[in-house]
């Protein structure tokens, strides 16, 4: 099976990956730093199933879970918040 590819922007960097993958995958291709913990340390995705909140990022301006958000053409993703 070869799914179609989709391009999204992570911190301004274009990333192309197959349809059906997640924003978490797109970010991981650019940086491991998804958000900053209250103490400032970098955090990345952890539970992979939508409840730990470590992969929370800004997607088209709204804070969402990267692991449960499928990529779609033109999404703008900002990390590190």
């Amino acid at each position: 099976m070869s799914p179609r590819s989709v391009t999204v922007h992570v911190n301004g960097v274009p990333v192309t990956l197959p349809e059906g993958t997640t924003v978490a995958a797109a970010i991981a291709g650019v940086t491991g730093h998804f958000r900053a913990a209250p103490g400032g340390a970098p955090r990345g995705p952890f539970c992979g199933m939508g409840y730990c909140g470590e992969c929370r990022v800004r997607i088209d301006g709204v804070i969402r879970l990267a692991c449960q958000t499928p990529v779609s053409p033109g999404l703008l993703v900002e990390t590190g918040g």
Partner: protein, 435 residues
């Protein structure tokens, strides 16, 4: 507006999908709610690089043409009287109601904190599997899987398929327990076949028993883990660690509704032999009722689906098989029982609550401390995950009623929600603020 269905199923994993199939009859209105973008739950999670598993495909072929309503990317966040389910999706809030309700909301991993477990590059064991299925790049990366239970093996197989180099699987249970687990496994033929299929694909991967990861190190990212048997330590360089110590049921939604729980360490939803909870017309099936794997989840789902629709003549063929599958819950729990040292890897300075970055600090080791006191002392349980991770970790080190006390006073919403959803709830409780 509230859409009304004959049956609403929460969770589109094996249990929920089987329930939807068995409950189906022409003219019945059935809805399945799941917070993932696609149905499948944990084990059948969508992987765009692979053909869907055969079992999932055959179920899906039935359901897809059945008129069953699938509400994917919809998360149950609260109840209103009725009970009406308040669902949140990326585009808004909606309300649905079922004449009957079936919880098939599965389980999550049990995480035990250790120094370094918050470093990027440290994941849940099933979490890393799920992320890899979602496209997280693992090809050529060095991975270690550590913790306890068969999920480590399932995760290893997925990661190998995605091109990762799995350095080792690190199982805390001693060799004798793993051997006893395997010796009695043939009592459950389906589980035996599944185990053999995993083992066959893992012949080149070292499977160490009686050892655990006691620390993860790296500057801004994981670069090595420390593995120990309690006496000697050894360092394993790796780029990713998947760690998990088994599963705990996602009881939050049924608990909020008032369903009775069973078991005190990591409670499950109590059900009768047909899957009915303590509340009439409310059913539960799959891992939310106890950790017993996909075979049991499917059987329980099928059973609860027909029971919920009152088709008693179809129940009897399933009851005996379901009872046998239930015995596997105890078999798993007994042989992958957690050993004392793995529950006590965190020190006073180790972050326990990842959300609030809170170390146990002054409360470290001072058991018993009841959950409310702990919350005031440390902010534990007040962050994004609402205690789904840290409270279960703490329960492992505290006297047993710990979690039951916490769960006795559940408060909506079930997950952090948007302000407009909160405003609509208006039930006078004290909700967790959105983050």
């Amino acid at each position: 507006m509230v859409d009304v269905f004959d049956l609403v199923i929460v969770g589109a994993g094996p249990a929920g999908l089987e329930a939807a199939r068995s409950a189906f009859a022409p003219g019945r209105r059935i809805a399945v709610v799941d917070d993932n973008p696609r149905p499948g739950g944990q084990i059948w999670r969508h992987d765009p690089t692979q053909d869907p598993p055969r079992a999932f495909r055959s179920l899906w072929d039935h359901l897809d043409s059945s008129g069953t309503r699938f509400l994917c990317s919809h998360r149950l966040v609260a109840f209103e009287s009725g009970p009406t389910l308040v669902l949140e999706s990326p585009t808004g809030t909606r309300r649905i109601r079922g004449e009957r309700l079936l919880f098939a909301c599965g389980a999550r991993e049990l995480f035990l904190p250790f120094p370094g477990w918050t470093l990027p590059g440290v994941y849940g064991a099933g979490g890393l599997q799920a992320l890899a299925k979602g496209g997280l790049p693992v090809a050529g990366r060095t991975v270690v899987l550590a913790g306890s239970g068969p999920l480590l093996l399932a995760s290893a197989v997925t990661l190998l398929r995605h091109g990762a180099r799995v350095e080792a699987i690190i199982e805390q249970a001693p060799t004798g327990e793993v051997a006893r687990f395997l010796a009695l496994l043939p009592r459950w033929p389906l589980q035996t076949l599944a185990a053999l299929a995993l083992i066959r694909r893992l012949i080149r991967v070292p499977y160490w028993r009686g050892v655990w990861v006691s620390g993860a190190r790296g500057r801004d990212r994981l670069c090595e883990v420390e593995v120990t048997d309690g006496r000697t330590n050894r360092i394993l360089p790796c780029e990713a660690l998947g760690t998990g110590y088994g599963l705990v049921p996602n009881i939050e939604a049924p608990n909020l509704l008032g369903c009775k729980l069973t078991g005190s360490l990591h409670p499950a939803v109590a059900v009768d032999s047909q899957g009915e909870t303590s509340l009439p017309g409310i059913y539960a099936a799959g891992e939310v009722t106890g950790i017993g794997g996909v075979g049991r989840a499917r059987l329980q789902g099928a059973l609860a689906g027909v029971a919920a629709m009152g088709e008693t003549q179809r129940i009897h063929g399933l009851l005996g098989r379901a009872r046998h599958a239930n015995a596997y819950v105890g078999h798993l729990a007994q042989h992958f029982r957690l050993r004392e040292p793995v529950r006590r890897l965190a020190g006073p300075a180790t972050v326990v609550c990842r959300c609030e970055d809170a170390a146990l600090g002054p409360a470290h080791g001072t058991s018993p401390v009841d959950p409310r006191a702990l919350r005031l002392l440390t902010r534990i349980g007040m962050g994004h995950c609402q205690g789904r991770i840290c409270l279960h970790a703490l329960a492992e080190t505290r006297p047993e009623p710990f979690l039951r006390e916490w769960l006795a006073r559940p408060r909506p919403p079930l997950f952090p929600t948007r302000l407009e959803t909160l405003a609509g709830l208006g039930d006078g409780t004290n909700p967790v603020p959105p983050t």
